[in-house]
């Protein structure tokens, strides 16, 4: 009991402390100018947690006021994460102007398809709990998770097909968000099924996942970005000769 209590508080507070360090590191490296939405998202997360902790430690405890505030933070965080994904898409395609058109088509197509799937899901399985706030919160969370998870997978697939190199920072942000969105999808489905805000296992899984995501962001954003040096490597000769002959023949036409 004490262990679960301690673990719960650790997982609640530690990621936010790490986020503060991450935000400070981003400011020092000038990354807050490169990823302003992610910076705002991180700051919002810290602020929201501070408010929730303050409410929980006050005479209100984990009552209705707390749950109302929790629902607001879920909505605000979801909106902020969408802005971060948009920021990732924009930054990604800015490096490859040829792909701006196909990228927009992908973003629009994926958003429409995922939105239809998520809305369909919300209609088919609206949740069984009598608590409206709980249902609204987790149905929203589930819808948003479907969209975010799908968009990030689309972005990863797109970059894989075109063999595009992600800058480490953007890759780390996308990976962390993707992991969080996929776990959040499972957690919101389970929470809706259980019909309660306060299932300890569900809460611990969410918080532990978020902790991992913050560590991923720290790893990618605070460590020096890797640079590729493979253009300097010499390649086997037999291929070079074949290619040389073929290219010379083509260029002489």
């Amino acid at each position: 009991m004490i262990f679960a209590y301690t673990l719960g508080y650790y997982l609640w507070i530690a990621p936010k402390v790490l986020l503060v360090i991450l935000l400070w590191g981003m400011v020092r490296r000038g990354l807050h100018r490169q990823f302003p939405m992610f910076f705002v998202y991180g700051a919002l997360q810290v602020l929201q947690s501070a408010i929730l902790i303050a409410i929980s430690r006050s005479h209100l405890g984990f009552g209705d006021e707390y749950h109302r505030m929790f629902s607001v933070t879920v909505a605000v965080s979801s909106a902020a994460r969408f802005c971060v994904i948009q920021e990732l898409f924009n930054r990604f395609f800015r490096d490859y102007p040829v792909l701006v058109g196909p990228g927009k088509v992908l973003l629009r197509g994926a958003t429409i398809a995922l939105l239809l799937a998520a809305v369909g899901l919300a209609t088919i399985a609206p949740g069984e709990s009598a608590n409206f706030l709980l249902r609204a919160t987790y149905v929203l969370d589930r819808t948003v998770s479907v969209l975010q998870c799908g968009l990030l997978i689309s972005l990863f697939l797109f970059s894989r097909y075109f063999a595009l190199s992600w800058r480490s920072h953007a890759f780390g942000i996308a990976l962390g968000l993707g992991i969080f969105a996929s776990v959040e999808l499972a957690v919101s489905a389970v929470a809706l099924h259980l019909g309660t805000f306060s299932n300890r296992t569900v809460i611990l899984i969410t918080m532990a996942t978020y902790h991992c995501c913050v560590l991923i962001w720290m790893f990618y954003l605070l460590l020096p970005e890797r640079t590729a040096y493979f253009t300097r490597r010499e390649l086997p000769k037999q291929d070079l000769e074949v290619w040389n002959q073929e290219l010379q023949r083509l260029l002489q036409r």
Binding site: A125, S159, Y161, T227
Partner: protein, 177 residues
């Protein structure tokens, strides 16, 4: 209960998919340590011949319909292989040129940028050409023109030569390949 179980399964699938794609991203970088092993020879002329409408017309008039369809399917299957190879090469060249874009030498950076753009266009074109070639295999009588892929490929290889010259002025043009 069933919906919840399906959603949990989908979420786990999405998680594994993300982790696999992230891992694949890292392994692509490893493959580039030795790109020559991954670059396959592509005979542009042979490909052009395979998708040449005049050649197709010649075969159509000189062969029996059943035989023409069989041979045309074979030709298009080979053309798909060529496009896939060219697209795969483009992917590797793209990654190679990507690093060149950050070169302090403006000429190298410019050549690398052009190569990246052309490689991307080729990948994009291959994305459209391959289904069309497959459609042609299903309907061997329909007319397909994928000569643009060959032209794009030629354009791209010329830029590789230019980039090679800029990066390895003393070593020969195709050092970048």
């Amino acid at each position: 209960m069933i919906t919840t179980a399906i959603l949990v399964f989908v979420a786990l699938l999405a998680l594994f998919c993300l982790l696999w794609l992230a891992k694949a991203h890292a392994s692509t970088s490893e493959a580039l340590q030795n790109p020559a092993e991954h670059i396959h020879a592509v005979d542009v002329e042979a490909f052009r011949n395979l998708v040449d409408p005049e050649e197709e017309e010649f075969l159509r008039t000189n062969l029996r319909p059943a035989e023409f369809r069989r041979i045309q399917r074979e030709r298009l299957r080979a053309a798909v292989e060529y496009v896939s190879c060219a697209a795969q090469n483009a992917a590797i060249l793209l990654r190679l040129a990507d690093a060149g874009r950050r070169s302090p030498d403006p000429a190298t950076a410019e050549a690398a940028q052009k190569l990246v753009d052309n490689a991307l266009r080729l990948r994009l074109y291959a994305l459209h050409a391959i289904p069309r070639l497959y459609l042609g295999m299903i309907l061997p009588g329909s007319r397909i023109s994928s000569v643009g892929v060959a032209e794009r490929y030629e354009q791209m290889t010329r830029q590789v030569v230019l980039l090679g010259c800029l990066q390895y002025p003393t070593r020969g043009v195709s050092a970048a390949l």
